[in-house]
Each structure stands twice: as C-alpha cells, then as structure tokens.
Symmetry: C2
Subunit: 230 residues, 2 copies
C-alpha cells in the first residue's frame, strides 16, 4: 500500500543474475565482447558497476553464464527422432546460434567450466545417438567430429571480414590485386574462382562438410552393427 503508492521514481526492478546475463549478451551482440565492460554493462542496467559484484564474484562468472545461456538456445532433438536428421538439425541450430553470438566461440575456448545448460545439451545429444544404436565409443567419436567441425566452421565463418557475397567479391578482388600472383598461383586461382562466382554460400559449404561427416558416421555405424559390437 504505502510502498506501492510511494513516489514512482524508479520501477526499481531488482537486479537479478538473469537480467544481468541477458543484458550482457545483448551488449556483446551489439558492440562486440571487447566492449563489454563492467561499467558499460552496469550502465545499460541503470546501475553502478560495483553492484554487479553482489550477484557475480567477478567478470569471469558473468562470461561463464553467458556461454551457458547461449548453449541453452540450441534446439535439441526430440527423443524419437532419427539420428541423422536430428544431428543435422542440431548442427544447423548450433551454427545459427553461434553466428548470432559470435563472441561465444572464443569464450567457450577460454572458459572450460560447463554449466547446466551445457550439460543438458550434451546429455540430449548423447542420448539420441545411443538410442539409435551407436556404441559408447562411436558416440564419443560422433560427438567429437561433429562438434569439432561445427565450432571450427563457424569460427572461421564469423572471423572472416565479410558477410555477404558482394563483400566477398570485394575482398577477393582486393586480395587479387595486392598479391604477387606468380608466387601464389593456386591461392590466386582459388580467390579468383570465388571472385567470379559470387553465389558462394557459407550455408551450402557448411552442409557439404556436415553431410560428408554424417555419411561417414553412418558407414561406421553400419560396420559396427554388422560386427555385433556394443
């Protein structure tokens, strides 16, 4: 009553870990993770920097929570899905999530402490493969190849200095001109090829490699089944 009717100075929504993390993600998405400072983050929440330290021990813990939140965004397979389309879908989802938060890959490398979202994620993937008949060790292999590929691909994709095909053509053109062509004939040829073929698509390239890997896994699984291994 009294408190309610008090002067409406501020909506005084209290700071919570969740609000901090989502503000941090928003800020990192916009300005890049390098611009994510304690003061800036606090300001975006209408608060002073040191207030954040009541909810997080240090900046690193905030980064951990951000990574975990990103993982939680990835679509997980339903229980009865076929393993191959399920893996295809989740790889695609992982790629798109990581592209939305390009800072996440770099953070994951440097913050190995897995959170709940991460573990939930991994559990679902492993479960899908196992119930599709993958042995323990083949599951481990599958997990390793797929994730390595996706991380590596997105890491390169998001690090390159262009996003659209036109930008690619520009960059490629620039490289060609400033390069001693006779010294790097193959590289030049390659760049030229994509300079002339600006319909190059990261999405297609991604699927080529992914399907190559999934087909390989299917073969390994078939071999395993015919061996009776478990």
């Amino acid at each position: 009553m009294a408190a309610r009717v008090k002067k409406d100075e501020s909506p005084r929504t209290p700071l919570t870990p969740e609000r901090v993390v989502s503000a941090a993600i928003e800020l990192a998405d916009e300005k890049g993770v390098a611009k994510l400072t304690m003061r800036g983050l606090a300001a975006s929440l209408g608060v002073e920097a040191m207030s954040l330290y009541y909810h997080f021990a240090n900046k690193g813990k905030i980064l951990d929570a951000m990574v975990d939140a990103v993982f939680a965004e990835v679509e997980l397979p339903a229980k009865d899905d076929e393993w191959k389309p399920a893996m295809r879908a989740r790889a695609g989802s992982l790629r798109s999530v990581l592209l939305d938060h390009t800072w996440a890959i770099a953070l994951m490398d440097s913050r190995p402490d897995p959170g709940l979202g991460t573990i939930t994620h991994h559990d679902a993937i492993i479960g899908c493969l196992r119930s599709a008949g993958f042995s323990m060790s083949l599951t481990a292999h599958a997990f390793s190849v797929i994730d390595s590929y996706v991380y590596g691909f997105v890491s390169q994709e998001s690090g390159l200095p262009f996003q659209s095909s036109e930008e690619l053509a520009d960059v490629a053109g620039g490289i060609i001109e400033s390069l001693p062509v006779e010294q790097f004939p193959h590289f030049s040829e390659m760049v030229a090829a994509y300079y002339l073929h600006p319909e190059y698509s990261f999405a297609e390239e991604f699927l080529v490699g992914l399907d190559l890997i999934l087909d390989g896994l299917e073969r390994l699984r078939a071999a395993e089944v015919s061996d009776g291994e478990s």
Copy 2:
C-alpha cells in the same frame, strides 16, 4: 656532461620485428596470451614499452605477426606427395603446432588479416589437392572441412581442463560425484565410461575423425572423376 663511457657491455643487439615476435610468442606460450602486455614484452627484451611502437603500429599488429609466425611453423606437403597422406600429415602438424601455441586459435578468430606465412601455407595445400585431380569446388570443400575440423578439435582439446589421462580420470570422477546422475543419465554414462577407460587419447580421437573426413573426400573425388567434372 659526464663521459658516455658508461657500462657499454651490453651487446646492444637492436630490436627487430622478428625478435619482438619471437619474444612475444615465447611469453604467450609460458604465461598465456592474457599476460602478454606491452610492458612485459618490452621487459623481456630489456627495453621500455614504447620502444615496441617504433616497430609495430600497435599491439594488434604484433598479434597478427604472431599468428603468421605460427602458421609458418606448420609442415607443408611436398609437391609430389599423394594427397591423402599429405593432408593427414599436415593436419597432424597443424594440430601439434596449435597445441604448442594454444593462444593462436583464439587470435586467428579475431584477426582475420592474413599474412605471408598464412598465404604461403594455403597456397601449398590448394596446390597439392589440385594436382591430385580435385576440382576447384571440391578443393574448396576439402579445405573447408579439414580446417574446420582441425581448428574445432584443437580448440576443444586445448580448452579442456586436463591434459593427461590421469587428469581426465580425476576430472571425470569429480564431475560424476557432483552431478545429479538421474537427471543426465547419458552424460553420466559417457563420463563414467571414460573414467573407467583412462587410456582415452586425444591423438587417436583426432585421427578417427580425420580419417572419416579424408575417406569421405576420397569418395567425392572418385565420384567426380567418374563424372568427368573439372
């Protein structure tokens, strides 16, 4: 004023970009890239921080040069090598180089400006594939999958909080104990499996995925050849 005949026993080897870069790499290898500061780097060269700015416009240029130097360490295939063992060898070499300089992966992601070492490297790989009969586009696919895989794999490998099998067992044991097993049955099972199988080897895991990819590429190449595509 006083005579300049001070203690001139210093061999006063002049600062060169090369010396700066190799000192920077050494420092990053030892203390981690986060501890690579201008002052620290200068001190390790017996010099003041601002002296570095005579040779490099800013810290970023030093980081670029470090990445390029790391790339130059990777073994390149000889011209007449079979493509498959050549790719296998260079992927292994790339992995070991990146493991020696774990900071390099993160830097590569954030510094897209390729240097001479990088281009030389790429040119050799492309040349090897092309002269093995790979079409332009299949070469691009091959390059993309292989590199994505290697980067992603090493990125995960070097980010994990253990190096040896014993440490793995320790970490796995710790995870098992502090985890609600019934909530993540598959994840727990997986961790337990490796807890009991401490002969797990990153090197082997790496080769499993790599060979899966190389076999897939061989199949694509065979299909291409029988199609007469170029």
